[in-house]
Amino acid sequence: MTDGPLIVQSDKTLLLEVDHDAAAECRKAIAPFAELERAPEHVHTYRITPLALWNARAAGHDAEQVIDALISFARYPVPHALLVDIADTMGRYGRLRLEKHPTYGLVLSSSDRAVLEEVLRAKKLQAMFGPRVDDDSVAVHPSERGTLKQALLKLGWPAEDLAGYVDGEAHPISLVEDGWGLRGYQREAADSFWHGGSGVVVLPCGAGKTIVGAAAMAHASATTLILVTNTVSAHQWKQELLRRTSLTEEEIGEYTGTKKQIRPVTIATYQVMTTRRKGVYTHLELFDARDWGLVLYDEVHLLPAPIFRMTADLQTRRRLGLTATLVREDGREGDVFSLIGPKRYDAPWKEMEAQGWIAPADCVEVRVTLTESERLAYATAEQEDRYRFCATTPTKSSVVQALVDRHRGEQTLVIGQYIDQLDELGERLDAPVIKGETKIKERERLFDAFRSGEISVLIVSKVANFSIDLPEAAVAVQVSGTFGSRQEEAQRLGRVLRPKSSGKGARFYSVVARDTLDQDYAAHRQRFLAEQGYAYRIVDADAVLADEEI
């Protein structure tokens, strides 16, 4: 028995003891084929899934390497069945290949005739195939390239897409590194994407995903379509691209609710793309408006279903997905794999933090006790109002006030779900509130003011959840959230994770009402962060109000 850092579990999870001497080496060995699921302080959990194994295959690893890594680092004997399963699963990738054919255009070919026969007999696939080319290959309708890959993945025979990409309309783009430089991991991420052709880069919030995107665009030097979550985010992409690349104002178009510009680099929102009029997607032509050389997806884990369908038709174009996590709450990881591409780069949060690329964060849960009358009111409230009731309890306001006072002089965000509560806090703290009805112009003015330090406290609703770059937010106070969304919690923490010029750590407060739904939801939300290694401390509201050291 060796004394390795890794324990292989029967449910295909791997436990890595992080304080072990060989932990770093082991992590490097298993990262290509195992998805990091949880990274709390002592033992990290990785999971071996078929997708993870296929990702590894796509990255050029073979079963031998995987098995060798497991056996050499495992503390206890690795179940033989697991090893067999790994070899089987990995052997399934690439048995089928999508290739270019001089006469038929696109063919599906296989080195394993039995697999090809099995696939040809699958009912759902029949319509996607053209005539049989020879014993080992069959023609595929080029329009079905994406849907076929999706369907094959579901059958357990993921196809390797070797049919290549169109170059698209060339357009010179280069990085302008004045006063900043591409970080090592950003370069690595962009390079491995480019060599892989298409795929997803996984980087934590604050690690500069936009810059990876810009670097990828520089690689392609072609017209680019960028899909982002919302308008504010679109503006930020534009700002970043102007700052980091040779692109000029005239070369970048915005395709949003208000503007419909189509330029060599066009930034569109998911929302506008998925707008329907009389059941028809009215903005589909954008995909064909130019001969795009690169399609870039921001926040892939939020990609809505219609965009997947549209993406299925874009398989001849290079695609880059950017995200902080491959975990999708709707479980459509397989579609990301088959339609956008395999994972091309990945770095865990904690490691980035240790390297100093993102700010260390201190997470504190502040427990507020409801008054007797509030408790009674809570207990008798209607089921659907209960969360709102406990999340917006007036007792929280004084605690928020105390927290903001405590950090006076530091850039502070107060984040919440309920507008009434935010408005009330705005009055109490004498701070501006950004909510859904706030005009884009006004939002940007406020953000700029906050960025420049003109205002130091900003209250935001969930409109600020995604993709807003607030470099100097050092403190965030969360007063209420979207029930138990883990996603949201991660995004909100991301607001304070960008490195501060002062080099100081960030503070993330979550104000929670004790013994209520609020506390349950908070526990659920925090689980994700605890699993990422951000342990919460719990303090009592009284300690905050009494101005004790916390």
Binding site: I7, V43, P77, P79, H80, Y536
Partner: protein, 788 residues
């Protein structure tokens, strides 16, 4: 097939019996150990033994036990003139036959000294075509009518069949090359061919086809209208005098790869650990949520699938674990099971863990594994059949009788022994094992055996009997009957007494936990994943469970702090304290019915009434009484007391029953019963054999030796009764062979109580009950202890 009279020489059963009688006790013991069917029941004397040993079925079973070499030696003896010398035999086989001959003698298939070797009587009938050779020419033509025979010989200008045998060479040459080719096809066996109109008369002149030319020359004999047979002499001529073409004198090597022993042992050890744990997981679940018993007595495919999904295992592995648990006595049918229930379910019967399971669970992993692995080795059940269809296209369910194959334990053992014989660490190819087994037991081949071998190898890997397909050391010890527990203990991970607790409310035990800690943790946290380590997750529910079981918050925190190698994360202590604070704020009790009244005085009155005691009333509030008797009973009781209660709608009633883990209630009829003394199994134990030898000798003595003083010779039966009377007087135990009313033979150890009216009344120690035995059905008696 009746006993075949030996036509070659005058060997009578008499002399074979004499040879048997001359065997010493050790030799007889060895014989019975190898051929246990000879002593079930024990023959009355040696003469009876000799006729039983030469019965076709007995011979066939004995031959089944021979390996390729011994079988070839035996067949060579059948071909050679009888009696034969050792030198002739060795020359005919072309190999050293000393060992094989010894084995044949110990099985009493061959008898006599080296210069006069003979096969057991009846043996010729047991092997129709020894070494693939046909019958001697004289016999082959025996079915020809005499006129036809005369015509054949006249046509050839020969005087007798013997003359044909002397002229085989010229006759074959004369028949032509096509005929020679036809003969060559039959030369190495089987020596019979199918031809239309084989009996039609042919002469040298009228013969057209090659076959007709051969028939006309007496080189083939027509056995019936459609069959021709190659006479032995012709066969030997075609073989150039050799009996065997390419005799394998040693088993073929298994081939495959050789793996590092340490890796093999530790992998198998890890799998053994997983097996024990999975069975526990499975039975725990079934204890709470038992699957039904099918009418066929098995487990429904849907239940099997659900369990497979729960365990995250393939269906075949699940079927294996279920079957093994059943065979090990850890799982049994419980409830009304008579195989006649309506629908697909066999009544209300369910599959439940047995009380034996609770005992098993208390043991160490290694002991539990040895129990399970032993049951697997011995069981005649074949888990691999589950989910397949039988010859009538009906689904074979796990745990049903259709999944029984009598040869399974023997093939399983033979497969593992083949692995054990190979160099340590050998991971053979399945084909290598087939070939090896085919050498060891050439007469028992077939599709079923190959499938059993395949299943055995697959199951061995799943159970931790092998690791990376090579036999583990602990299995080697188990097969040899040694201390397998110690061998397994050496490769199992050592238990740890600490965990790592993390802020995401999980605790990781980096190895198997010591029992105490494992129990406490399982109480306070949910198991999230198992394997080399165990991951526990603390949830409000799990902490509540610990509090419900009487643990205090501070006690829990203290326990965790003591066993955690890391600082207790603050969220966990908050969680425990939060739950503890809320714990017990509501109280819940058990009640079956309640009494409600707006007038507290009436309730007061009922509580004061002594007769109301049996209603088990309990006052919850001034206007509410709770009762633990059912509502109908409570209503009746109150009416008896002179009240006029009305029943309330069911919405108001509180019936709380605890979901309890159940156990199979019957020990016996729903549990796995191993097949009766399988002749393929490990055989009877030594004491039974020794007793049998003693009984046989005694019976033989009685049959042959006249009593002194001129009194009439005592029949064996009389001798037996005498023995029984002595035992009755002495109060000792004796061993008897007994044929029951169905003619089923059995061996029992009894304490005779009295003999009267042709019946023996005795305490049957084998079955732990008093029985009456018909004296005429008792086949033999021997002392169990003391001299016979």
């Amino acid at each position: 097939m009746g006993p075949d009279p030996d036509y070659r020489c005058g060997v009578s059963t008499e002399t074979y019996a004499d040879w048997l009688r001359a065997r010493d006790d050790d030799e007889l013991r060895a014989l019975f150990a190898c051929r246990p069917e000879l002593i079930t029941p024990v023959p009355s004397d040696i003469t009876a033994l000799s006729s039983r040993a030469s019965a076709p079925s007995a011979l066939s079973r004995a031959l089944d036990r021979l390996d390729r070499l011994a079988l070839s030696v035996f067949e060579a003896l059948l071909v050679l003139p009888s009696p034969t010398t050792y030198e002739d035999l060795a020359a005919a086989v072309g190999a050293d036959v000393r060992g094989a001959l010894g084995r044949l003698r110990s099985l009493a298939l061959v008898w006599g000294d080296d210069d006069e070797l003979r096969v057991a009587p009846g043996a010729r009938g047991a092997v129709p075509h020894p070494a693939g050779l046909g019958p001697p020419a004289k016999e082959a033509f025996a079915s020809y009518p005499s006129d036809r025979m005369t015509a054949l010989l006249d046509d050839l200008g020969l005087g007798s069949v013997q003359a044909i045998c002397e002229r085989i060479g010229p006759l074959v040459a004369d028949a032509g090359p096509e005929a020679r080719a036809a003969l060559d096809r039959l030369a190495w066996g089987p020596p019979i061919g199918k031809v239309e109109g084989a009996r039609r008369p042919v002469t040298l002149a009228s013969a057209n086809s090659p076959i007709e030319r051969l028939l006309a020359r007496g080189l083939l004999a027509a056995t019936d209208d459609r069959t021709v047979t190659l006479p032995r002499e012709v066969g030997l001529f075609l073989r150039g005098g050799r009996v065997f073409r390419d005799l394998e004198t040693a088993p073929p090597p298994l081939g495959g790869t050789v793996r590092e022993r340490k890796l093999v042992d530790s992998t198998a050890g890890g799998q053994a650990f997983t097996t024990v744990r999975t069975i526990e997981d499975l039975l725990e679940r079934w204890g709470v949520d038992p699957p039904g018993v099918l009418r066929s007595g098995g487990l429904g495919i849907r239940d099997l699938r659900a369990t497979a999904t729960h365990l995250d295992l393939p269906e075949w592995t699940t079927a294996l674990l279920v079957e093994v648990a059943y065979a090990a006595g850890l799982l049994a049918r419980s409830g009304d099971y008579d195989g006649s229930g309506m629908g697909s379910r066999g009544g209300d019967a369910v599959w439940l863990p047995t009380p034996a399971y609770d005992l098993w669970r208390l043991h160490d992993t290694e002991r539990r594994w040895v129990t399970v692995a032993g049951a697997w080795l011995r069981m005649d059940r074949v888990p691999g059949l589950a989910g397949e269809r039988d010859e009538r296209d009906r689904l074979i369910n796990a745990l049903s009788d259709e999944a029984i194959r009598a040869s399974a334990p023997q093939v399983r053992r033979a497969t593992l022994e083949a692995l054990a014989d190979a160099p340590a660490g050998t991971a053979p190819a399945t084909e290598g094992v087939y070939a090896n087994l085919a050498w060891h037991q050439p007469r028992r081949g077939g599709v079923l055996r190959e499938r059993l071998v395949g299943w055995t190898l697959r199951e061995a890997e799943a159970l931790g009997v092998t690791g990376f397909r090579a036999l583990a050391q602990h299995t080697r010890v188990l097969l040899a009957g040694g201390d397998a527990e110690a061998a397994l203990r050496a490769v199992l991970p050592t238990p740890v007494d600490h965990v790592m607790i993390q802020a995401d409310l999980t605790a990781v035990a980096p190895g198997p936990l010591v029992a105490d800690l494992a129990r406490e943790l399982a109480l306070a946290a949910d198991v999230e994943s198992t394997g080399g380590a165990t991951v526990y997750r603390f949830t409000p529910e799990s902490v509540r469970r610990a509090l419900d079981a009487g643990r205090g918050a501070s006690e829990l925190i203290e326990l965790l702090t003591r066993h955690s190698t890391t600082a207790l994360p603050q969220p966990l202590s908050y969680l425990i304290e939060d739950v503890a604070r809320r714990h017990g704020r509501l109280r819940v009790g058990i009640a079956s019915a309640y009494v409600r009244s707006d007038d507290p005085a009436v309730l007061e009155e009922i509580m004061a009434d002594r007769r109301a005691e049996q209603l088990r009333l309990h006052r919850l509030a001034p206007t509410v009484l709770a009762s633990r008797v059912p509502r109908s009973e409570l209503l009746d009781g109150l009416r008896v007391l002179g009240y006029a209660p009305v029943a309330e709608s069911p919405e108001g009633s509180v019936v709380i029953t605890r979901l309890d883990s159940q156990r199979a209630d019957t020990a016996g009829h729903g549990a796995y019963e191993p097949a009766h003394q399988s002749v393929f199994g490990s055989g009877p134990d030594g004491s039974v054999i020794t007793a049998a030898v003693r009984a046989l000798r005694a019976g033989d003595e009685a049959a042959r030796v006249a009593a002194p003083n001129g009194s009439p010779p005592r029949s064996p039966a009389a001798a037996m009764v005498q023995r029984l009377r002595e035992a009755t007087d002495r109060g000792g135990r004796v061993w008897i062979g007994y044929l029951d009313q169905q003619g089923q033979a059995s061996s029992r150890i009894i304490e005779p109580a009295r003999i009267e009216g042709g019946f023996l009344t005795a305490y049957d120690a084998t079955r732990a009950a008093v029985h009456r035995f018909a004296l005429h059905r008792i086949t033999g008696v021997a002392d169990v202890d003391g001299a016979g």
